[in-house]
């Protein structure tokens, strides 16, 4: 009986020791080898750009890589075991991940991260409250107002294809009507209004995101002024003077050209001095029809000259 008890005791002790020895590696592993999961997950979302951030896991002398997975509301309701690897963050180094390309519907998304060092991976750390992109912070858009002559032109910040802009502009005078224009995309100059000289115009803008049905606040109002009548008057004066000059110069020119043409193609025939008839006696060539071959040159007196003329 005693032997049996002793044998039992020995077996029990052996079992206990075996169990204890088996536990040691597990305890050691718990203390040294398990990688902690990333903590303090949060999403910073501005203008539909969503950034998942977490506190980094530090392992001395080692580079820690992180993997991100997401699950839309559809997956969490219908296929809860399915998590989809993030487009850009499978084994990324920094403690943040741009999940903009993953969050593509306006529903709550679950996000989770784990750390990897060598062959070790940590447990998954899940974002506490699911993220819905309709909670994004919308900032007023940057805008540049320019004057192109009398044209009021606006160029808005390019925020991507999901953004449209509502531009409000008015003439800065009491009781002026506010106009509203919808601009489909930023980065392109858009004509708002042709301004009247001497007036000031003010502009402000806000963004609209159709996917979440929300508007940002309006930007700061910017005003521009167009120069008064001084410039147009000077221009008018110059124009008038120019016109008068043209009125005078062109006929003169035409007349001069006419005279030139006349001289060059149809000159007036001027008799040379030697052929001109004067009071003093001169040489005359008289030819009668009967005397064709004999042409006499004679000096006549004025009375004989007259007689010759009459006959």
């Amino acid at each position: 009986m005693q032997t049996f008890t002793m044998v039992l005791e020995e077996i029990w002790t052996s079992l206990f020791m075996w169990f204890f020895y088996a536990l040691i590696p597990c305890l050691l592993t718990d203390e040294v080898a398990i990688l902690p999961a990333p903590q303090n997950l949060s999403v910073l979302s501005t203008n539909m750009k969503h950034l998942l951030m977490w506190s980094p896991v530090t392992v001395p002398g080692e580079t820690v890589y992180y993997s991100v997975e997401y699950q839309g509301e559809y997956e969490s309701l219908y296929t809860s075991h399915i998590w989809i690897p993030s487009s850009w963050c499978s084994l990324t180094e920094g403690p943040e991940c741009d999940v903009t390309d993953d969050i593509t519907a306006t529903v709550p998304y679950n996000l989770r991260v784990r750390a990897t060092v060598g062959s070790q991976t940590s447990a998954w750390s899940i974002l506490k409250h699911p993220f819905n992109r309709n909670s994004t912070i919308l900032t007023p858009p940057g805008m540049e107002i320019t004057k192109d002559g009398f044209h009021l032109v606006i160029e808005l910040e390019d925020l991507g294809p999901q953004f449209e802009f509502l531009v409000a502009y008015w003439r800065r005078e009491p009781g002026a009507e506010e106009h509203v224009k919808m601009v489909r995309s930023g980065g392109i100059p858009v004509h708002l209004e042709t301004m009247e000289p001497g007036a000031a115009y003010c502009v402000k803008a806000q963004t609209f995101v159709k996917a979440i049905g929300r508007y940002s606040t309006f930007s700061q109002t910017e005003c521009v002024e167009v120069q008064g009548e001084a410039i147009p008057l000077v221009l008018a004066l110059f124009a008038f003077v120019g016109f008068m000059l043209i009125l005078v110069v062109v006929p003169l020119f035409v007349w001069k050209m006419g005279r030139l043409l006349q001289y060059s193609c149809c000159p007036v025939v001027v008799l040379p001095d030697t052929l001109k008839i004067t009071n003093s006696p001169q040489k005359l060539i008289s030819c009668r029809r009967e005397e064709v071959d004999a042409c006499a040159t004679a000096v006549m007196s004025p009375e004989e000259l007259l007689r010759a003329w009459i006959s």
Partner: protein
Amino acid sequence: MKLQCVSLWLLGTILMLCSVDNHGLRRCLISTDMDHIEESFQEIKRAIQAKDTFPNVTILSTLETLQIIKPLDVCCVTKNLLAFYVDRVFKDHQEPNPKILRKISSIANSFLYMQKTLRQCQEQRQCHCRQEATNVTRVIHDNYDQLEVHSAAVKSLGELDIFLAWIAKNHEVMSSA
């Protein structure tokens, strides 16, 4: 004097009710991000349609042949088809390729959002289901049941462009329905 006040008050009330009603109608618009859904589908269309083992059969045929679904039925048909995809098609299809899985997830979650939007209309009694609309969706479910479930799911996924084109064509109608 009193009669004038009463009639003005009545007119004001009617106008107010009409504007409230109009605001509700605008909520039925499913124009939210349709471009993105179509883009996502175009990227995976060829891969999905290549897996279709029954090319001579269509599941959404009733949408093509019924070129004009009456405006009153558009909301109900849309609601039923969204439920068809969300409750049956996406669940029955197991996609191993992560790139395609991402796009399908994007479309599925967008459909979920569209369902929520339509439910708001339904609460305001603007999405009645008449017999014609119910018949259309029943035919589609019957077509789906005639095929083996995985083949049916793949085929229905491949026919998403038919559904998306139908929504795009009819959503203007819906907004005024």
